[in-house]
């Protein structure tokens, strides 16, 4: 029985996620009453380890990843979060800053690096597309969201967004050419759920504040990955009023807690 789902509320778009979780649950109760009336999870804001200990699943929202990591450390939450994600293996979804925090490695971090929670064997590139004036909305193809005859396109809001730059093998080396993989399963279980095709790859120049664009280098940027219990998206479903991602994730959380119910 899924009883409590938390949203990490240290900084960022946590109210927005809570709002979409409530809408998604209302939708599920209306469309599948037999299944969802018996599961009536409540949604809570998580700011300390006591609140985290009550959660069966967690969302880490968009925000500023350095800020969230700093407050998590100050609040004694880093180790409980690592336990939650990597040892207890409870369902956890990170969006934008949340994806960064759930990665095992990150590039373009502040001087001296930053604390991460980990759980996804990937290396992310922070602020991949550049500064705020480079932020954009693009349709992302997410086949698992397509209902019969419905669209698989989802409005991806990318704000100073990271991408998954490499998928790491369990010994820490790079899995070659992950972004063009046609089968989603890589050796270590990292599934690429979505790529953003044909955006011009930006080459960051250290310390200049500027960046060069390499027109010949078109990249398939990885913008959604999953590894077991952990889901990460570069984009911000919490900045849309499209409930499909949250509906899908709630169903995945339920499956993880009651495998028999999926048979």
């Amino acid at each position: 029985m899924v009883q409590t789902i938390g949203v990490l509320a240290l900084q960022g778009g946590f109210h927005e996620h809570l709002s979409l979780l409530h809408k998604a649950l209302a939708h599920l109760k209306a469309s599948q009453p037999a299944k969802w009336q018996q599961h009536n999870p409540n949604f809570i804001e998580v700011r300390n380890s006591e609140q985290l200990s009550r959660c069966d699943a967690l969302i880490i929202p968009g925000g500023e990843s350095t800020t969230i990591a700093f407050i998590a450390a100050q609040s004694g939450l880093l180790e409980p979060l690592r336990q939650f994600v990597k040892v207890d293996k409870k369902p956890t979804w990170g969006t934008c800053a949340g994806l960064i925090l759930l990665s095992e490695a990150a590039n373009a971090t502040k001087k001296g690096g930053q604390e991460l929670i980990g759980g996804l064997d990937v290396r992310v590139q922070r602020n991949h597309f550049g500064r705020q004036v480079e932020s954009f909305v693009a349709d992302v193809n997410l086949p698992f969201l397509a209902e019969e005859g419905g669209s698989a396109l989802y409005p991806g809001v990318f704000i100073r967004a990271p991408i998954v730059q490499e998928i790491l093998s369990s010994n820490g080396s790079q899995v070659p050419d992950a972004s063009s993989a046609t089968t989603p399963d890589s050796a270590n279980g990292v599934q690429v759920l979505a790529v953003l095709p044909n955006r011009t790859k930006r080459v960051h120049v250290a310390n200049g504040g500027g960046e060069e664009t390499d027109a010949d280098n078109k990249a398939n940027d990885i913008v959604a990955v999953r590894q077991g219990n952990v889901l990460g998206t570069s984009f911000h479903p919490e900045l849309t009023d499209d409930i499909r991602m949250h509906v899908w994730w709630l169903e995945e959380v339920l499956k993880a807690h009651s495998p028999a119910a999926t048979q």
């Binding site: 960022g12 778009g13 100050q74 954009f136 100073r160 900045l239």
Partner: protein
């Protein structure tokens, strides 16, 4: 609970599904309002700190600031030194941009759209059209919709906030009284905004569209934005506190009054131990309802900025009266 925090009412007015094409930008390359307002939504629950050089910016980043405001002089020094206060030298902004990975904001004078063009060219993440600098235009604020960079603007009441949003501001802050270390004006401004929103809600409930139009005429704002505000029960964009926040308790006070986050100007780098105070204010802004944490992070911070009592200040010295 005594808190009047209204931010649990989520703003979906700026959601991305309202975009009408594939790349989230209008045909002229300007990002949609959802993208501009979206960055502000990602700053919520955070502290934005005034910094004047790379070293201060690094202290702010290490203390958990969610963004920095790049300035030549903090408001307390602008106030002390007098003269015309203008946009910072681009080299100051670029030095700070190179030093940190968090968003960098910068201030332009009210109405000075060329300073805004320069800041946009520098790649500033948010432009603050600010009363802390000397206004450049007595009749017009900057028309903000056409810029790629998003704008934050100050307000003292709901009418002023909605006038700025109508011009294209994607984020609002209270004006407070910058450079004083006295939170009283910031409290007055958020309480006024909250009271105005309650009035708009009552007008919509009891008098419908007609009453909203009458109130919109009275407070001098767009009726459609006023109706949207009444329906949401909050401003349709993110609203931070600013102008006088100097302690962790000040920050938590503004959060409990319903602000989405906090700007701290002179309060950090005019105090005794800037790094410690900065960290404490960040913690207090997250744990704003947890008195135990607030007591811990208020302890042993050293000397706060000396400050100026706003009540003993002549009206001509106040910055909040700039803009309209």
């Amino acid at each position: 609970m005594a808190s009047t925090n209204s931010s649990t009412t989520v703003n979906n007015a700026t959601s991305a599904t309202s975009t009408n094409n594939m790349n989230g930008s209008h045909s002229n390359g300007v990002p949609t309002f959802a993208i501009k307002a979206g960055l502000a939504q990602m700053l919520k629950g955070g502290v934005i700190m005034d910094v004047t050089n790379a070293a201060q910016a690094r202290i702010a980043e290490e203390a958990g600031a969610c963004a920095v405001m790049a300035l030549e002089r903090v408001p307390a020094d602008i106030r002390a030194q007098g003269g015309v206060a203008r946009m910072s030298d681009p080299s100051v902004i670029q030095e700070i941009q190179a030093a940190v990975t968090i968003p960098v904001m910068a201030k332009a004078r009210i109405g000075h759209f060329v300073e805004c063009q320069i800041l946009e060219e520098l790649g500033v993440d948010y432009i603050d059209e600010s009363e802390v600098l000397t206004p450049a235009d007595e009749a017009f604020h900057v028309e903000k919709h056409g810029f790629k960079a998003p704008f934050v603007c100050g307000c003292r009441n709901l009418g002023e906030a909605l006038r700025r949003i109508a011009e294209g501001a994607a984020m609002i802050r209270t004006k407070g009284e910058a450079g004083t270390g006295d939170v009283v004006e910031a409290v007055k401004h958020i309480r006024t905004v909250n009271a105005d929103i309650a009035r708009a809600q009552a007008a919509l409930r009891h008098g419908g569209e007609g009453a909203i139009r009458a109130l919109a005429r009275e407070i001098g704002c767009d009726a459609a934005l006023l109706k949207q505000t009444a329906e949401l029960g909050r401003l349709p964009v993110v609203n931070f506190a600013a102008g006088g926040v100097a302690t962790p308790a000040d920050a938590a006070l503004m959060m409990q009054l319903g602000c989405d986050g906090v700007f701290v100007g002179s309060g950090i780098f005019k105090s005794g131990d800037a790094a410690k105070r900065a960290k404490a204010i960040v913690n207090a802004t997250t744990h704003f309802r947890d008195a135990k944490v607030l007591a811990e992070c208020s302890t042993g911070l050293g000397e706060a900025m000396v400050g100026i009592n706003v009540s003993s200040m002549p009206a001509t010295d106040k910055l909040a009266g700039r803009g309209w």
